[in-house]
Every structure is written in structure tokens, then in C-alpha cells.
Amino acid sequence: MASTATQRAPALGAGEMLRWFWTQLTSMRTALILLFLLALAAIPGSIVPQRSSSPIRVNDFREAHPNLDRIYQPLGVYDVYTSPWFSAIYLLLFASLIGCILPRIRQHVRALRTPPPRVPARLDRLPEYAGAAAASTAPGLTAAHAFLKGRRFLVARSENGISAERGRWRETGNLLFHTSLIFVLVGVAWSNLYGYKGSAMVVEGQGFSNTLTQFDELRAGAFVDTNALEPFTVILDSFTVSFETGEVQRGAARQFDAEVTVVDGGQRRKELLQVNHPVRVVGRSVHLIAHGYAAQVTIRDGDGRVALSGPVIFLPQDGNFSSAGVIKAPDARPERLAFEGFFLPTAVVDDRGPRSVFPDAYNPELFLNAWTGPPKKETGLPENVYSLDTSGLEPVQLNGDLARFRPKVGEHYTLPDQMGSVTFDGWSRWAKLQTSSTPGLWLTVGSIAAAIVGLCLSLFIRPRRLWIRLVQDNDGARFEAGGLDRADASTGLAEDVRGLLAAAVGDPSPNSDIDRDHAAVRNQESEGEQ
């Protein structure tokens, strides 16, 4: 990198430009900066509502903050994790990662094949050094060799010295970790491209089949043939929910038990579906991910015929399951009918308006107003069943005011002017069942496991090199030992060097004539204890 400044001065050819860019991209500093950008870029998505998880809150937010919306919408702040800028950061990071580790893998493979490096000329320049006179009776290099082997060093002998190394696996671990990160991403991409998630709201007693048309929502990867999903059916036989009724955490969910019948290739079986216990069908998981209330209603039209009879799903709006919904009777004659309002499982009306005060159905009531209009032509266009398009409809009035009514279970309400009636027959629960296929999950999970193993190797292995040599000079024979730690944060280097020397000299506590640093470290440590 130091040379880049001089390279840049004359006009660069396209090739050099690319190389320059690549060197920059794969530098440690760039990796650091990209990591920070990634952390920063992930934050807005935790603060601003996201389309992927809460589309309704996104709409509310946009209405409540039109000024912010003008900035957020074009920037993709409602879809942070799929936005171009977020993708750019992590793709650059992974490009940097690949560019960084490929050459390191090559080097490391080569390094693994070479023996520990030769004894350096000046051992006393190493961070740790000790020397001692060698008596003729000294056990010598053979004992030093045994000492090193005993400490599981990789040893290479030369004529009058020994080189030893340990902890080469640290780099192996580091490379394993970084490589695994790439495969984590590959696994995620695989699941996204070849997997799908589809969900359907199913009222007790009903079921859903794993086909495109039966899902309320389906998110499928680009390579999924959504017309050929695995055929199976799940029937929600019963769904038991209970809530905390005691003082502490009143209203918190305590139990969700969905008894389901799975019909798979002509075979039927009963299963218990719970949160944390998905049901597996032909390699797919069926999860219980949400629940709510459906009102059983009967709508009679102006002609006195039943225009609608059955459960209508209401969507919970708060923790006490005040639920909003729409009842449509397009076939009612002479005028079609529609109702809009709330299902309140434990209804109260106070100065804050009608609402539910407990999530269980202790006092269920419907709060509705009605709309009416001439019959609409069938367009065949799909319609959102949870919202009411009021074009062509008139609100039903009573004495010059909007007609509002709140039937309890078993009650009915007759609309004015013989337009018809609505009966609140009862309620049942619905469960939102989700089928998901995540084909790359095993790769993601396996890669994370490998990454953790690599990380531990990389963080906890302390590579070290030790050398010892026998020198003959005017004063006679001497042993010199030295050592070097290749990762910071190591301890025990001094002990290893002294031990190595002691093994060669044959003295359990050699009088090393030079022993710098070590004493200083000792002093500081004991100073800390005081």
C-alpha cells in the first residue's frame, strides 16, 4: 500500500487502476471500515418499521410522518436489508474477504509444508533470550529436543541447533473462520433462491392445502416453481389458547396448542402443533406463527335470504386482541351489504372508546357499522378481504346518524328500511399457519459451527517459536536459547525459553546471564497485587 501514492501520480491504465482498487479493497483497513459501515447501516432497520416484517406499521408511519416519508421512501429505509446501499456494503465486504483470504490460504498451505525456520543469527535480539555455559556433562541438544517434543512443538534439528514451532493451527483456524463466513452467506442465498414461506389464516375446523391459491401470503425464491409445491393439507381440528389470569403479567400468553390433522399423499395423521414445535411434512415445516378471532355471523339480505353464514376473520390490533375486520355480503339483494368494525373479546366501552381489556373471550362483542349499495359486477379481480372499498357504497343511517350496533353472542341486529339483518352466532379462533422450505439451512448452520470452531482455534492458540543453539567461543561452550510469540497476548514465553535452556544445560534453575524483560514483567504483576 505504501507504493500506491507513487503509482497513482501518472495516469493509470485500466489494469493498474483495477489492481489498485483491488489492493485497497482487500486491505485490512478497508475490511475494518466496511465492518463499521455494515454495523451502522443495519441500525435504521431496527428503528424505522420494515415492510418485510410489519407492512401495516410502515403504512401507519408513512401517514404519520409525511415529511420523513419523502426522504425515507426513495432511500429504501423501509426495506433496509434489501436496499442497494446495504447490499453494496455486504457484497463489498465479502469481495474484500475473498480477496483477502485466497492469497492467505495459498501462503498458509505453503507454510504448513515447510519446517520451522532456521535458528536466527542473533538470538539475543529476540523478545526473550537466555544463555548459559555448557559443562561437558550437559545433556545437550538431545535433551532439548525431548523437552520440545514433550511440549508438542514441531521440531527441526540442524547441526548445532534446534528450531521449534507450535501453534500453526491458529492461522488454519482463522482461515477456516473467514471461509465459513462466505458459506454462511452462500447458505442464506440458497435458501432465499430455492426456498419459500407461505402462510394462511385457518379458522378452527378448516384447513389449508399447500398450494399457491390457498396462501394469504407467499414469498418464494426466484427458482421455486410456485405451481408445483408439495401437495399436502393441514386441518386445524382445534386450537386451545390460554392467557395469564393472575395478577402478574396478566394477559400474557401461556399456552398455544393446535391439534391438526395432516393429510399427506392419502395418509392422515394427527399432530400437536405448538410454538417451538413445528410439524414436519415432506421436508417442510409448518409453524404456528399468529392467532386471533373469527366471528361467526349470519347475514340476511333485504329479501330475507341468507347472504352469508360462517366465520369471518378479524385481525388483532393490540395485545388485548381488539380486532378489526370487514364482513362482506356481495350477494345480498336487492342491495349488497358490507359491515366494518371490531371484534372485542372482552369488550368495554369507556372514555377511550370501545376496546378489549383482556385477550381471552370473556365478553365478546361486535362493534359494527353497515354499508349498502347496488350490486357490483363481477370483475374477477382479487379483493383484499380485510379492507373495505367503499366506492359505490353508502353508509347505513339511522335517524340521521351513522347506524352503529354492538351485538353480543346470540344477538342480532336488523338494519333499518328492511335492508336485512346481521346475527352474531358465536366466535372461534384462527391460527396463522406457515409452511416454509429453507433448503440451505443445513449449510448455514454447519458453516456457523465451522466458523465457531475456527474462531476458537484462531483466538486461543498461541503460536510460538523457540530456538536453541550450542556456541563454541573463547570462553568455552555455551547454550543460547531464544523465543518469539507470533500473536500478542501470550504468556509463558520466558518460562519456555528458560525451560529449554535448563533442559540442555541439565540444570533445573540455570543462572541465565541475560534475562531482560522478564523480571520487569514480574515486578509489574506483583505491583498490581499489592
Partner: protein, 300 residues
């Protein structure tokens, strides 16, 4: 006395005794104010001053041990009272995390002579336990169904131990920054900080704590994702809690890289570690209180 009441009493006792330990360690630091580091010419008064500081320090450690014992009783009896692992809401998470912090500190105290961390650790423990027993307290209640999972237990234990390591590492980092500042100001030869291990040694201890915590945190985040796959049918959904866990993870990965990057070692790396700690705490408390997501389940 019911087990629940016993638990509450033990937690409050722990909080109060941690506060006493803060006082003791503050006295340990304060009694060395302006006292130079002498190696020769030590007078009688000098030795008495050192002995007094030492006395306060030992008292601080003793108090921390008493508080920790009470703390263990608090957490265990909470679990017995609830008839489940005591990890169902913020009160229980905070008291458990604090317990892991004090245990890690006491282990390191034996192994690595960390008494110089006593003041900050006890300050943190006092704050954490104080906040838990006053603001976050909730009476014992069963778990919501989403938490009925062994992956959840694994997730919490791993995250708490990793969190304890990050906190201990972060506090050691703060001590290191204080010492570095005092050296820059030329007051390196007097006071408590002057008697601490060298900056390199402090940095090494901080690094080791972080290096211990990081793989565990990686595992905790992964275990959380596996649990989410069981509970909600998706491995990763960018829920605020998940997002902030990843942000924290990325910041600590940045810290580990910074230590290996020329120009980022030392002070800058230390500051990144502290940013990581802020992110950890925001994830631990802030997300539940401020942001809206699935993990707001626990209530406070």
C-alpha cells in the same frame, strides 16, 4: 418466608453490599491519591499509606464475595420459586447477567490479580442490581410459550457469559484508557493508576476477556437464530433484537481486526471495544424498552 421473598431479599442485600464494596474500593484508590511510587527510601508513613490502601482493597474484595454469595442465593431461589430457569423477563436477565459478571470477576481475581477492576466492577454491579430491584422488578410468573425451548436456555446462558466477558473486558479497557491518560498528563508516577500493571498488560487482559466472549457471543446469536427457526419458522428476520445482536457482533469483530491493523492498535481499538459495550447494553435493555419487535415479549 416464601422462596420468592427470600430471592427478593437476597437480591436487595447483594445490591446494597455491592454498594459498600464500591465505597471500600473508592477508599482504596483515594488513599493513594498523590502518593508517588517509591522503590527505595520508603518511610514508615509511606508504608502505612500503602497498607491502608491495601486494607481497603481487601475489604472491598471481601464485601464483593459476600454480595456474590447473596446474589447466587437470589438467582437460584428465584428459579426455584418460578419452577423453571430464572430467565423469563428483563429482571431475571439483568440479575443473571450481573451474576455471571461477578463470578467471572472473582475467578479472574484469583487467576489474574484483577483487584484493580474492583471499583468499576462493583459500580456496574451496584447500578445493574439497583436498577433490577427498583425499576425492572416483576413478581414470579410462568414463561410465555415462545420461551419454552432448550435453545432458548442455551441462548441465554451463552449470551450472559459472553456479556459478562464483554463487560469485564470493557471495564479493563476503561481502566487502561484512564491509565493512558494519566501517563499522557505526566501524572504516571503518583496515585493508584501508577501502581497498576503496564498498559500492555491491561490491554492483554482486556483483549483476552473479549476474545473469550466473542466466540460465545457468536454461538449465542446462532443459538438464538436456531430458536427463532423453531419458534417463528424463520432463521433470521431482522427483528430489532436480532439486528442489534449482529451489530454488536460486527463491532467486536471490528475490534479484533483493529488490534491487528497498524494505526488502529491501542487507543482506537480500545474505543471500538467500548462502542461494542454500548451496543451490547443497548441491545440488552434499550431494544426491549424503546424498539418494537418480537423480543418485547418479556415485558419488564
Amino acid at each position: 418466608m416464601t422462596t420468592e421473598v427470600l430471592s427478593n431479599l437476597a437480591m436487595v442485600t447483594a445490591a446494597v453490599v455491592y454498594l459498600l464494596a464500591v465505597v471500600a474500593h473508592a477508599a482504596e484508590w483515594a488513599s493513594l491519591r498523590g502518593v508517588p511510587v517509591l522503590t527505595s527510601e520508603q518511610t514508615e508513613t509511606y508504608r502505612t499509606t500503602l497498607a491502608r490502601s491495601n486494607y481497603w482493597g481487601r475489604l472491598g474484595v471481601g464485601l464483593t464475595m459476600i454480595a456474590a454469595a447473596s446474589h447466587v442465593v437470589g438467582v437460584v431461589s428465584r428459579g426455584i420459586a418460578a419452577e423453571r430457569a430464572p430467565w423469563g423477563n428483563m429482571y431475571e436477565f439483568v440479575t443473571t447477567l450481573m451474576l455471571f459478571i461477578v463470578l467471572l470477576y472473582l475467578i479472574l481475581l484469583r487467576k489474574a490479580h484483577l483487584r484493580w477492576l474492583g471499583l468499576l466492577v462493583n459500580l456496574l454491579l451496584t447500578l445493574g442490581m439497583g436498577l433490577a430491584v427498583t425499576v425492572l422488578y416483576v413478581a414470579v410468573a410462568p414463561l410465555v410459550p415462545a420461551l419454552h425451548s432448550v435453545w432458548f436456555i442455551i441462548h441465554i446462558v451463552a449470551a450472559s457469559i459472553a456479556g459478562a466477558a464483554f463487560n469485564v473486558g470493557g471495564l479493563a479497557t476503561i481502566v487502561g484508557l484512564l491509565k493512558a491518560r494519566s501517563e499522557r498528563r505526566g501524572t504516571a508516577q503518583v496515585g493508584y493508576l501508577a501502581r497498576l500493571p503496564s498498559l500492555e498488560r491491561l490491554d492483554t487482559i482486556a483483549y483476552r476477556a473479549h476474545a473469550f466472549g466473542f466466540p460465545l457471543w457468536t454461538f449465542a446469536v446462532a443459538a438464538g437464530a436456531i430458536w427463532a427457526e423453531f419458534a417463528w419458522g424463520r432463521f433470521w428476520g431482522w427483528d430489532p433484537k436480532e439486528t442489534w445482536s449482529l451489530v454488536t457482533w460486527v463491532i467486536y469483530a471490528g475490534y479484533l481486526h483493529a488490534r491487528a491493523t497498524a494505526g488502529w492498535k491501542g487507543r482506537r481499538a480500545a474505543i471500538i471495544a467500548l462502542i461494542g459495550l454500548v451496543s451490547f447494553w443497548f441491545n440488552f435493555i434499550g431494544v426491549n424498552l424503546l424498539l418494537n419487535g418480537l423480543h418485547s415479549y418479556a415485558g419488564i
